[in-house]
Symmetry: C2
Subunit: 352 residues, 2 copies
């Protein structure tokens, strides 16, 4: 005998992203602000001055990707239990991508899920991590391998926090914006070429455009079955560069910058991108001191590393390729020799 | 400036529950069967003979509620990573409620969620844990405090496994069936009074009725915001009994049986249940050797314990009360003295 469990539901995970100076934030429950030592020192007063809640508890994590692990999650959960947080309590993720990923994951599994709010403080997390609902931690087997999809209830993006951000980290965030522009929005790319992201206004506008692009992609593909993969432009190559540098030599955005140039070599070889477009993208990245050259010592090994990195099941590599500026193609089954040749021609860029 | 992230989606978490002898099971990916030492010894061959998959890995947990913790989850995840499981791999939960809760939670957080299939082997997990999508583990702060909602892809209920189930555990499962009948289905209750659950056919029919009831409740309220709370009939009282017995003296279903009788005393006091109905329920429970009497040493302390147990935020206790056989009421704000008097009259049952 067979019984059908009907769980077709209209789920509304919609939320608002506010891109403006933080105003009063009223929360009618207990709140845990999860942050790290650096952000706490610089900005906790700014947040507390604007926050009203039934009770506020600040949970402080060590600063750094190496603390993005299960031990940190368990210590967050212990803290919540000890302070009698319950199903109607809320979490505020206050920091960069690492804090956001961990706070979101803790919120996802505390008593089977409570609400969380994001207040991202780095440019990268403002344009990237704040949209999409991916939460998680690293394990010894790799990055982001344990986690959940858990959408925030609201995101507050305030460029105030960027004032204290080191230039290098700011630029790494710009790499992700350029990525969005190249793959989805030619007009945004043209605009980026025409401005300098030095004043608050233009940064805020650029963040807004990036968030809008990512939001529209995520809305179409919340759980990354299709088009959302296009957000990984520059990442297939970039991840290998990151790993070769032991995740220390390059910031994520810097590795993506290098990865974009590599991917573009392949696009040009396949006739999807003109030399002129390739050059415009590289010029824009370099304007923000982003690295574009890198010497691949062992091209064969570099190629093999694509297979280590894969979460998906099958054995072909998916390449995300810019197809002129402003659009993107997801291409499988590119011949190995074509990829190897593109990597060789990439190496040659540095030899010039 | 404000950007709306539109994530209104028609989510289809529907699945089939098969209540029949297990036939061939074809799975076109790698599969991890998560089970415990006892079930593995008794039934793994039965399952393996019927299972076809790309690759099968058996992950064996220790048997018992005290292993339902984060360490077991981490060891499952390590095992999956070491064996190169990926996003398209699947998990089969093969055992009772503890195995089901843990396997489901591991499936929920492995690479942000993979599919899992339930093959429950105890009567309790067949009627209860296999429907609803609640997964999770215990922490030192309490039961099921860490977890996620993650629906299975399919559930296979085969009464074959019940042959090896100790009588006491079988009866504890019957308590949950009686709970479903009292709260939602008078006809099912009448039928239960008319049969003896000794032959396979009647057990299978009783499981099917229970599953149908739970399924219809869960479909209305997947994340336990309203009517689903009614499934906790007997549980508010039962949990305190369980805790007083250190979770060792009584099986969960036995504590629920006692809790039902306590809740019914309150129903009778409030005029929601007749003496005759109360007596029919008790008679049915006792037919399956389920405990109905229990001496509350300190009634005041017993009452206070309701507040410790609560996951919800506010400070009132919600009572789930049978309102005649076949329907249920969720009642808040019952005067403390009324509850205390009902507990006194419960104690008096044992003194007779």
């Amino acid at each position: 005998m067979r019984i059908e469990i009907e769980l077709k539901q209209e789920i509304d995970n919609s939320y608002q992203i506010y891109i403006e100076p933080l105003k009063k934030l009223h929360i009618d429950s207990k709140v845990a602000i999860i942050t790290n030592t650096t952000v706490k020192k610089l900005h906790i007063d700014y947040l507390l001055q604007r926050l009203e809640a039934v009770e506020v508890k600040v949970i402080e994590l060590e600063d750094g990707e190496r603390y993005k692990n299960i031990q940190s999650i368990l210590s967050i959960l212990d803290n919540l239990f000890e302070n009698h947080f319950n199903r109607s309590s809320k979490i505020i993720a206050f920091g960069g991508g690492v804090v956001g990923d961990m706070s979101g994951f803790a919120a996802a599994i505390f008593q089977r899920g409570i609400e969380f709010i994001q207040i991202p403080t780095t440019l990268l997390s403002q344009v990237d991590a704040s949209v999409g609902g991916k939460t998680g931690i690293n394990s010894k087997y790799g990055k982001n391998l344990i986690g959940a999809f858990h959408q925030p209830k609201a995101v507050y993006i305030d460029s105030h926090f960027l004032q204290t951000l080191p230039r290098r980290e700011f630029n790494a965030g710009v790499a992700e914006m350029i990525k969005m522009a190249v793959t989805f929005d030619a007009e945004f790319f043209n605009w980026l070429e025409s401005v300098d992201l030095t004043d608050k206004k233009s940064v805020q506008d650029a963040v807004a455009s990036s968030v809008r692009i990512k939001a529209s992609v995520v809305a179409k593909d919340e759980k990354e079955m299709g088009i959302r993969a296009a957000l990984n432009y520059g990442h297939t190559f970039g991840h290998v560069v990151e790993r070769e540098g032991n995740f220390e030599k390059f910031l994520h955005g810097e590795a993506v910058s290098i990865g974009i140039i590599m991917a573009n070599r392949l696009s040009v070889a396949l006739g999807k991108l003109t030399h002129k477009e390739e050059s415009r993208i590289r010029t824009l990245l370099e304007r923000y001191s982003l690295p574009t050259l890198y010497h691949i010592d062992d091209i064969e090994k570099f190629y093999e590393a694509f297979f280590l990195d894969k979460k998906s099941g099958d054995n072909s590599i998916t390449f995300i390729l810019a197809s002129n500026i402003g659009s993107v193609e997801i291409v499988k089954d590119i011949e190995k020799s074509t990829v190897i040749d593109a990597l060789k021609s990439y190496n040659a860029l540095g030899a010039k």
